[in-house]
Symmetry: C2
Subunit: 106 residues, 2 copies
């Protein structure tokens, strides 16, 4: 992953509201969460949430799938894995033992 791309993803996660959104989606698992439920859970204006979701989708951390009138949002795990891989390789040379971090390999 390029540095610019990684920075864009980190920036997307670097907003408390968006981090809450992403965490909620991860906790929702593979079923995902509709935008409306996400809004009720986090408690912000629908338009604000839409903007934040747009940012998360733009950088690839979140994906959407239409189910009739509702839009299901899901966390994109492989992208997050690659982001962690970037941090582990590029920014964690010796002082950071790999621990149980996944491989990048892409």
């Amino acid at each position: 992953m390029e540095l610019e791309e990684a920075a864009a993803r980190l920036e997307a996660l670097g907003n408390p509201t968006r981090l809450k959104v992403y965490r909620a989606l991860v906790r929702a698992g593979d079923d995902g969460l509709p935008v409306g439920r996400l809004q009720a859970r986090i408690g912000i204006a629908a338009s604000t949430l839409s903007h934040h979701l747009h940012k998360l989708i733009t950088v690839g951390l979140v994906s959407q799938e239409r189910q009739a009138t509702t839009l299901i949002c899901r966390a994109n795990y492989p992208v997050m894995r690659r982001l962690l891989g970037f941090l582990a390789e590029e920014c964690c040379v010796e002082g950071c033992p790999p621990q149980d971090l996944p491989d990048e390999a892409a």
Copy 2:
């Protein structure tokens, strides 16, 4: 690590210039890097670099140590490790079995 703290650190890393700075410091290893050398390597105004360093130091990702007139900067590995730990736990990245986790609640 709390969500707000994690978000602040992600935001700090979410700027391409600051990510370059951090990466350069990680690559420098335990010896660290003086501010001036960092500036020459990255190629931005000294004041701009100082601002970015201040942000990285504020969130705990970087530390400084005075050696005569020069300030040695070092990456703070444990903080990065905790940040990666937060992402792995709270935004669980592996297989991610969700459900029995508490609700967001601001």
